[in-house]
């Protein structure tokens, strides 16, 4: 509109001028010519008017954009390479950012989630321990800074009485949980305070998915009775779809929730040997985390005075809930974020190089523009517009790439990342991508733009040796320097995983099968019936063909279980507090456990079938326990006390097992290992142990997976109400402990690969360009008697010098950077010279080969043709 008016206004002026001249006696044609002469460049005037109106920016930018799109179409090949390169860089950034965004940045899905905090007991050996239920009750009563506290505990339930029996994951929670998290049930209600006490009416909430799956989303579910672990519970409500309690990994859906205080487990009333309660609280409005910390420090002090035996030296930590949930993964994610920033920088350098080469080709065009009156800033702006249009195209392609990559990431991340269900595209991710694209456009566009504006009307020299392009060399050096840390990081991770594969776990996971089973409620009602259930099932499985041996165990290594208790040697001075004692991992098990796992027996004997509830309690310790507790004595025959139990006699010493993973450190906090007969547990504790899932481990004589169906059938025969949750080869469980490192390696390896590819393309590009610029020089040299080999050496040498400079810089950067990944490394130092050396050599080989091709081309040039060129 404005543009049309401007045109009309100037045209009017022009016509008036012509009319004037005609009036003064000129012919029409003459008048026109004179007017046109006088008027000068119509377009120039228009441009200045637009300038004056400051509408210039938008209008001319649109014009520049149109021009950019035209020139992109004309240079389809270059455009494809540039957009592809950027898509890789921006796509990688977007994908990782969407993970960071979903896991670290998005708020938790609770009402005013920033006020929800997690509370832990702290003690010298453990910075974050779960709380005793009685302590939780005192925290709730004594603190002044939280609106309320809630207690949560995992619990599994056997659902029986409605169709197939099923093992359901679930929670026991305090009634306050729902108001703290701000969740309302989909239908029905949550728990009342009266239900959240010992002896309260058994009520349950179920998940929306269970409601749909088992009860066809029938609202008649309210008031119905469900048999859970043999007890009838009345369903009072259904929790909304997608709702999750804090502290859980997305892989295990939780379907049943019951009031915590109704639990009759004896440990609930024990401040020392307790079942582990997770506590969350809602801060009062305006109360800072620091204030709450001070408040709970006071509470901890009061409790230490009141219950010195259990609480001496204990503190209470207060941390925003989100920080707790992501604390294990934020380091790895920021590492990956750093890696993709390197990738996009390398991509930028590549694109800048390509555009610089094109800029040289476009010097005449720019000289023309400049001669026609385009100012320096105008040319820079047009160039930057072109770059940003390219970058936006790259960003769009990157977004497509990233959404595919993100879907893959979510799938493979579910096992290793908390909150992975929150990963996805949202406004913030799109904004991030846009920002990255614009920033990269400016970054890689600046170099050619500046070169253009400097070019002005510079004549391209006809000198024999054209000036070396210092800036382009610098780009190559930078690319190599950026690629090296990624490659080193990837190589360190590969070595870590190799090292872990070579680790002796202390047992033999091959041909081992693990079945997770929950006994039917009727089987776990009394001590004798539980003991019968164990021995009966073991005998049945043993008799299956292809079975070498079977054992039951809770706390199987590498499953994430770590039930532990303090250990005291009878006869030694009683400790001031129980937490001065070393802590031992407890493995209640059955006689054939050693035979199944092939853990070596070092001294004495292992548990046998004569160690039962009628015989005196026995204990088998591992070599670490023997060394730690009995450095200069024979442990056999000594008596030790574990937790709140009575003394047991040590009958044997076995090898140490890597309990929490292949990277387990013997200096870790729980490194003592204690085996005792599950059948010797007192009835009350046996019921507590048996109400959870039992792991039956078995060794097969051949492929263990072939036994799956027979095993299933046999367990069903033993008791149709027994529930099998999983049957899994032990190999798989062991490999699972490497999952998060493999995840990291997969991603870091991909990024390092992209970086290597881009960097070698960059070297190739610059060397090719330099060969084409040096054609005359090469011709003269060859005319003067240089041989192809000399030329080859000279060109490859140029590439080698650049890559060496890059490698030197990259090695220095890596020395500084790899320390950030030292926590994930195993058996290899973060500045391992062998890794650094081999990566540096490998990268220089790639660099030299990338410069070899163009060098070969240069050396084959015909000297006469070379001299004639230009």
């Amino acid at each position: 509109m404005n543009e049309k008016q401007l045109d009309r206004e100037l045209r009017f002026h022009f016509d008036q001028l012509v009319a004037d001249y005609v009036r003064r006696g000129m012919s029409e044609a003459e008048a026109r010519r004179k007017a046109r002469q006088e008027f000068g460049g119509m377009e120039q005037v228009k441009e200045d008017c637009r300038d004056a109106r400051r509408t210039l920016w938008l209008d001319s930018t649109l014009e520049d954009v149109r021009f950019s799109l035209r020139s992109m179409r004309k240079n389809a090949g270059l455009t494809t390479v540039v957009v592809g390169t950027l898509a890789l860089g921006i796509g990688a950034n977007t994908a990782i950012f969407s993970v960071v965004n979903g896991v670290l940045l998005r708020g938790l899905p609770y009402v005013q989630a920033n006020r929800v905090v997690a509370l832990f007991e702290t003690m010298p050996q453990l910075p974050q321990a779960s709380a005793a239920y009685l302590n939780y009750l005192d925290w709730r009563r004594l603190n002044d800074t939280c609106e309320d506290l809630a207690a949560l505990r995992w619990n599994d339930f056997n659902l029986t009485g409605t169709g197939d029996p099923e093992r359901l994951h679930g929670r026991m929670v305090s009634a306050s949980t729902f108001s703290i998290l701000g969740v309302a049930p989909l239908i029905g209600r949550t728990f009342t305070a009266d239900e959240d006490r010992a002896g309260g009416k058994p009520v349950a909430l179920i998940s929306e998915s269970l409601w749909r799956r088992r009860f066809a989303a029938d609202t008649g579910i309210l008031g119905r009775s469900l048999t859970l672990n043999g007890t009838p519970y009345t369903v009072v409500g259904v929790l909304p779809a997608g709702f999750q309690f804090p502290f859980q990994f997305s892989s295990s859906a939780e379907d049943v929730t019951t009031p915590l205080a109704q639990s009759t487990d004896p440990p609930m009333q024990d401040r020392l040997f307790h079942p582990g309660i997770r506590v969350v609280g809602r801060l009062k409005g305006g109360v800072s985390v620091e204030t709450a910390r001070a408040d709970f420090a006071r509470v901890a002090q009061a409790l230490a005075l009141e219950y010195p035996k259990a609480n001496q030296g204990h503190g209470i930590s207060v941390t925003p809930l989100k920080d707790v949930l992501v604390s294990g993964v934020s380091g790895g994610l920021y590492l990956l974020m750093g890696a993709v920033i390197f990738v996009v920088l390398i991509a930028c350098a590549n694109v800048a190089n390509l555009l610089l080469a094109r800029a040289t080709a476009r010097e005449p065009e720019m000289a023309m523009r400049s001669a026609l009156g385009a100012g320096r800033s105008r040319i820079i702006r047009q160039m930057l517009t072109e770059s940003i249009v390219l970058a936006l195209a790259g960003g769009l392609a990157g977004l497509l790439l990233a959404s595919a990559a993100t879907a893959f990431l979510v799938k493979s991340a579910a096992r290793v990342l908390p909150r992975s269900e929150h990963i996805g595209m949202d406004g913030r991710v799109l904004l991030f991508t846009l920002g990255t694209a614009v920033l990269t456009g400016l970054l890689f566009g600046l170099a050619p733009a500046l070169q253009f504006s400097r070019a002005e009307i510079r004549r391209s020299g006809r000198g024999v040796v054209t000036g070396r392009h210092g800036f382009r060399d610098l780009l190559v050096v930078g690319q190599v320097a950026l690629a090296l840390p990624l490659l080193v990081g990837g190589a360190l991770l590969i070595r870590t995983i190799w090292n872990l594969h070579d680790v002796d776990a202390g047992f033999d996971p091959r041909n081992m099968l693990v079945a997770e089973i929950s006994f039917s409620p009727s089987a776990v009602s009394t001590g004798p019936s539980i003991r019968r259930a164990f021995t009966d099932l073991i005998r049945r499985i043993e008799n299956l063909p292809g079975i070498d041996s079977v054992a039951a165990v809770s706390n199987l290594p590498m499953t994430g279980d770590d039930s532990a208790a303090p250990v005291w040697v009878e006869g030694r001075p009683a400790p001031k507090s129980e937490f001065d004692l070393p802590i031992g991992l407890l493995y209640p098990t059955t006689p054939d456990y050693l035979r199944v796992t092939k853990i070596p027996l070092l001294r004495g004997r292992f548990i046998n079938q004569h160690d039962n509830e009628k015989s005196s309690p026995v204990m088998v310790i591992d070599e670490t326990t023997a060394r730690t507790l009995f450095p200069n004595e024979d442990p056999i025959g000594r008596r030790i006390v574990v937790g709140t139990g009575g003394p047991s006699q040590i009958i044997g010493v076995v090898g140490h097992v890597k309990h929490s993973g292949l990277d387990d450190d013997v200096t870790a906090r729980f490194h003592l290992q204690l085996y005792y007969p599950v059948l010797q547990l007192p009835d009350a504790y046996l019921r507590f142990v048996a109400s959870g899932a039992q792991r039956f481990v078995l060794r097969s004589t051949s492929n263990p997976l072939a036994l799956r169906n027979a095993l299933r059938a046999e367990i069903h025969n033993a008791d149709p109400d027994d529930v099998i949750s999983t049957i899994q080869p032990m190999d798989e469980i062991v490999a699972g402990t490497l999952a998060s490192r493999r995840f990291l390696l997969k991603l870091l390896g991909t990024f390092a690969g992209i970086a290597l590819l881009l960097a070698s393309v960059g070297i190739y590009g610059v060397i090719s360009y330099s060969v084409s610029q040096r054609t005359r020089e090469i011709g003269i040299r060859m005319a003067l008697g240089a041989r192809p080999g000399d030329i080859l050496r000279s060109v490859v040498g140029q590439g080698a010098v650049l890559s060496m400079a890059g490698i030197a810089l990259g090695v220095m950067a890596s020395f500084f950077l790899t320390r950030f990944m030292s926590s994930v490394l195993f058996g290899v130092g973060s500045t391992d010279p062998l890794t650094f050396g081999s990566v540096a050599i490998g990268l220089s080989l790639v660099a030299v080969s990338a410069s070899f091709l163009p060098a070969l081309r240069g050396s084959k040039a015909d000297p006469l043709a070379a001299l004639r060129c230009e």
């Binding site: 009309r8 206004e9 002026h13």
Partner: protein, 115 residues
């Protein structure tokens, strides 16, 4: 022979344009003509300077414009002074007079000295 042309000192073009427009609504071509006439052909305004200046002044709110028919029946863009433009003109005129007097004094004084 046409009288020698004079380059306009920086910033004075705006003043001239505002002054001419202050006499009544007028289109761009006529402004150029009018300046040339009044200055007795000494000052010649190039289209290349005139139109950017007009658009700048309009953009600043000193001028407003309407499309009107000329006596020859064509549509032209007529500029007129806004209130803001008028006070700007007054301020600039006063400024100019002060400046011209000062420069005149110096030039005369210097000539007197040299004599």
């Amino acid at each position: 022979m046409p009288p020698p042309k004079s380059d306009l000192p920086q910033g004075t073009l705006d003043l001239l344009i505002l002054k001419v427009i202050a006499l009544g609504p007028i289109h761009g071509y006529a402004i150029a003509q009018r300046i040339q006439q009044i200055s007795r052909e000494v000052l010649q305004v190039q289209q290349g300077s005139l139109y950017p200046a007009l658009h700048r002044l309009e953009n600043k709110g000193f001028l407003a414009a309407d499309w009107k028919e000329t006596e020859t029946g064509r549509e032209a863009k007529y500029y007129r002074l806004t209130g803001k433009g008028r006070s700007h003109l007054n301020a600039e005129t006063a400024n100019w007079k002060r400046l011209a007097t000062a420069i005149g004094l110096i030039v005369n004084f210097a000539e007197g000295e040299a004599r």
